[in-house]
Symmetry: D2
Subunit: 354 residues, 4 copies
Amino acid sequence: MTNRLRAAVIGAGYWGPNLARNFAASEQWELAAVCDLDEARAAKVARAAGGADVETSVDTLLARDDVDAVAIATPARTHHPLVMAALRAGKHVVVEKPIADSAEAAREMVAEAAAGGLVLMTDHTFCYTPAVLKIRELVESGELGEILYVDSVRINLGLVQPDVDVFWDLAPHDLSILDFILPGGLRPASVAAHGADPLGAGKACVGHLYLPLPGGAVAHVNVNWLSPTKIRSFTVGGSKKTLVWDDLNPQQRLSVYDRGVDLRTQAADSLERKQATVSYRLGDTWSPALKEQEALGAMVGELATAIHEDRAPVTDGAAGLRVLSILEAASRSLEVGGDACVVEHEPELVGGVA
Amino acid sequence: MTNRLRAAVIGAGYWGPNLARNFAASEQWELAAVCDLDEARAAKVARAAGGADVETSVDTLLARDDVDAVAIATPARTHHPLVMAALRAGKHVVVEKPIADSAEAAREMVAEAAAGGLVLMTDHTFCYTPAVLKIRELVESGELGEILYVDSVRINLGLVQPDVDVFWDLAPHDLSILDFILPGGLRPASVAAHGADPLGAGKACVGHLYLPLPGGAVAHVNVNWLSPTKIRSFTVGGSKKTLVWDDLNPQQRLSVYDRGVDLRTQAADSLERKQATVSYRLGDTWSPALKEQEALGAMVGELATAIHEDRAPVTDGAAGLRVLSILEAASRSLEVGGDACVVEHEPELVGGVA
Amino acid sequence: MTNRLRAAVIGAGYWGPNLARNFAASEQWELAAVCDLDEARAAKVARAAGGADVETSVDTLLARDDVDAVAIATPARTHHPLVMAALRAGKHVVVEKPIADSAEAAREMVAEAAAGGLVLMTDHTFCYTPAVLKIRELVESGELGEILYVDSVRINLGLVQPDVDVFWDLAPHDLSILDFILPGGLRPASVAAHGADPLGAGKACVGHLYLPLPGGAVAHVNVNWLSPTKIRSFTVGGSKKTLVWDDLNPQQRLSVYDRGVDLRTQAADSLERKQATVSYRLGDTWSPALKEQEALGAMVGELATAIHEDRAPVTDGAAGLRVLSILEAASRSLEVGGDACVVEHEPELVGGVA
Amino acid sequence: MTNRLRAAVIGAGYWGPNLARNFAASEQWELAAVCDLDEARAAKVARAAGGADVETSVDTLLARDDVDAVAIATPARTHHPLVMAALRAGKHVVVEKPIADSAEAAREMVAEAAAGGLVLMTDHTFCYTPAVLKIRELVESGELGEILYVDSVRINLGLVQPDVDVFWDLAPHDLSILDFILPGGLRPASVAAHGADPLGAGKACVGHLYLPLPGGAVAHVNVNWLSPTKIRSFTVGGSKKTLVWDDLNPQQRLSVYDRGVDLRTQAADSLERKQATVSYRLGDTWSPALKEQEALGAMVGELATAIHEDRAPVTDGAAGLRVLSILEAASRSLEVGGDACVVEHEPELVGGVA
């Protein structure tokens, strides 16, 4: 089919095979090549995806005219040079999270994409799950009202990672979802991070993030490698309704509660003292049906559509940069004992599609 | 029965009737009197408890020789004068939480009881529930190992209180339980409090406390008035086992997981770089049976036993003071945007029973 | 208030106090008297209900002109003589379940009420809970479509009763609810009962009832005294939607699933063989909010309204008789090893209000 | 490795690939061949399993000297001829359930295996899951005491099968598990089956089986294609403890309750009337950790061990025959409206290993 876009996957490790499989299965894409220094590994991934060229040199790959976009699934420290090279070669790019190993590097990448009129996408896979797509839809539609608080809990007996703490390991998921569902993205003025290392592992294994949101709202994220119970819950408290996503309950993943507190503040007496009048709503609960759909399939679809429509994808490079900026501020907060640290945000980028 | 102690209840409002009923039902106590400015109300409580004298003057009550102890169930701002008067009249005292409206006032009360050789008890009712008594026993016995983290969640659609924020309304429960189960009580060096008032109620309605514990451990408390779902869970992560108390699951209130992460740090190579070796335990889960028993019954029993044995009760005045000191520090933290604030602890009091 | 009806409660044992309290609290009723052979017990119940006459003779009570209705809360074997006497004295009657100790006795009672133009009500308390009232409403409205199957599970560690088996102890609840929610009441042509007595208690401790319903549907009831887990679930599978009532889940007592199987049967080929075409609906789940309301309060309200409107109450004597007839058939089935036994139903009674 | 056994898989449809993969992965087996009339399909399965010969003729396959055992994964109606041919060719056999399409056919197969001294195994896969292996171990060890009742619920929105009813589709799982865990296997004297076809599908879509067990115990099986909720629970009520297997709760799949009813029957008075004395145990709950292990891997291991030890496997042909005999009796019961029908059991087979 002539109007299919052609993608190449760079990196045939843990995540690359999933990307390759989804490009191959998509009606909008053709899998052109799989690239890895380890030729045998690349060949295995290409074969499992139903066939594609095997490349062992990124330079050779990027020099090809028949590749429209590259998906980069290599270690974080390599993202910056690879993405920059790909953008300079005129390729659209989707890159694993974290988008880079420093916000500064990410900023350059976003600027490069904007300058070149190319799509730069961050692979925030969770955002393309049916549950998160539905949450975004419900927030956007106003069904929940104003957002009052968000609480995200992601705890489990986890691998103590050799190179990153529990924040960098797990919180990118929560932060990318928050960025995706909040109107205008996640732009907290500051972040406070509290971490504990009770095992003496040399890094935080239990962590909490506090992110003030506009209008007095707050987001709280709890990540934990030491919990024997597994919890993945995400609550969006709204002024009208409250949504709870329990990812481990396949029979009722999303619940929307028409329950809440209404507050009217009024002048209460001649001294003009304010008095709060509180009332409660105790309405129905509703659990929307969700499509069965693989998240990565929706992700590669969005990449194609963004390229065709010459617009930024919903999880663009700027989203990846916002998540990274918050993680960096969280690390600074951790160093100063949990005091809130300012998050540096970018002005809105103009003129590009990243 | 001649060797029963005799108690009087001061305050016939919300909680007084429960105290009166439990003193009347106890084999160690006789209910001598119920005291309230509102005579009819006092009379109703006395009658419902099976009969007792009715008093409308605290002075008259405290002047009686046939009253050994008074239980004070009046508003917090009246605790200090009433407790001081009772102690000066030679009565043992149990007082509702918070023990006073300031740590300074509480400090005086504790000192007065110590000076007088009298028992001063804080009615931390939750500590006398079968679940919390079992948690304390499991921690003390070493069954859980070293405590690594504690997480307490107490959220529900709640009454927005006119005079206190969500921390002062709900967190005393969590803090008093923490104080009860931790060996040596809850004595964090500092506390960080993050609160949100997204409804514009003039006070925090959503709150998180972060309390560093000895050995790198941490306690986190989440209280929330705006949640449409009700959660009351309390997790104690230990180096050997982890305990989860789910108070809303009557069929399995406590679960003890023999699961966790073991970490051995060792010199890994000739450069003496440390490397963590991690292993996982995935053992059985155990849910101990709990007695059916009313907490207040156990509380009045402990009061009698402490008086007889001339010792401090397990929830003594010092415990009430520790909880109050933490709440005050939390309020200071809230004012400075969540930065950790020092908690002032008392030296161990010597020579009294409070 | 002059137009209040006046009720007397006969029997001051386990259930009588609840009846007395609800008549006393109702705006439609005045509690005239409490009657028991044990004067002290009657007096205690009358006092707890805020005051009422005490009677020790049923004859005296029934001779009073100022009593409109009597509520009978005495052992089952006394129901027939007491109800008959009350009806003959011109009183409306509500009687505890089972309505009598034999269907024949119940039949007489229903006929007597009809002849006298009096209300005879069975106290099927569960039918007046907010959950069951909502289920009836949803069935009636057609929201669930045709009923395909009903499954009721009521298992728990229970008291092995000295005089009745598990069917007579627990199944009346399930049967009365079924009778209440099914259009036209529960009128199965037959019932099969399977019971087990694995402890050698001399009676069934584990039981299953199987009741064919119109249109090929079926109701199954499982009762069990030996289960260490407590389950109270009631499922109504409909052709449009399916409802699950989980009485032990206070946060989501009722769930309505817009999920199911659609079947179209069509002539499939020239040989006119039928072939089923199946399709699935996987829609939303909805959990209606329920009022907080005591069931017995609604029950005494329905009794008053039925008297005022000169109509049968929704749980009339005929309903009690239907439940009894099914239990008797179940006992016969049990005796013959579980073979289905015919249930004898009454023709519709004409001319009365019972 | 010379002492590995060599297996061939006949049938490359739905289940064959799983068998092939597990033989190939086992240290006790070598996958010799995959056989299917559709050569391409057989080749694909052989390739996915890491390579094996492809055969399109069963005769050719069975004539090979280098094949020790065949696994038959073809439609039920072909089981009898294929198994008989394989046994006559001197091959050990494992066959998908149901073992045959009639008990008579199965009986011949079992006899043939016994005569030839060959292993005939039924692939009751569920019996090799860690949960069921643990249940069997707990029953055998006496931990649960005498079995009082078993309740198995397997309900879900299911495919309405064109050729079988819900009993034949789902109940084989429950019956094979019951057969596996009960000492001596599942040998009820009779079975009563109640089925409903409320959709008019031409076959039962909702079903219940009642199987009396020795000592007054009972097993109940509930299968249902029309339930919008998915339940897979299996309860074994014992005189000492009760076990609940909830297969949809990965965090606590098995729970063992030290709770129950104790009954002592004694001569109660001079009239020698028996009176039951009942007491309750309300002890701890325990949830054993389960290995992570694929059931089919354990199954092929058991097959190899049975061959080496010249003994019947734990799910032998006789087990498959017992399940089939019960299903046939259930179908007869269904035809006569649910009356209990006798199950014809075999005398213990002597002299073979099947």
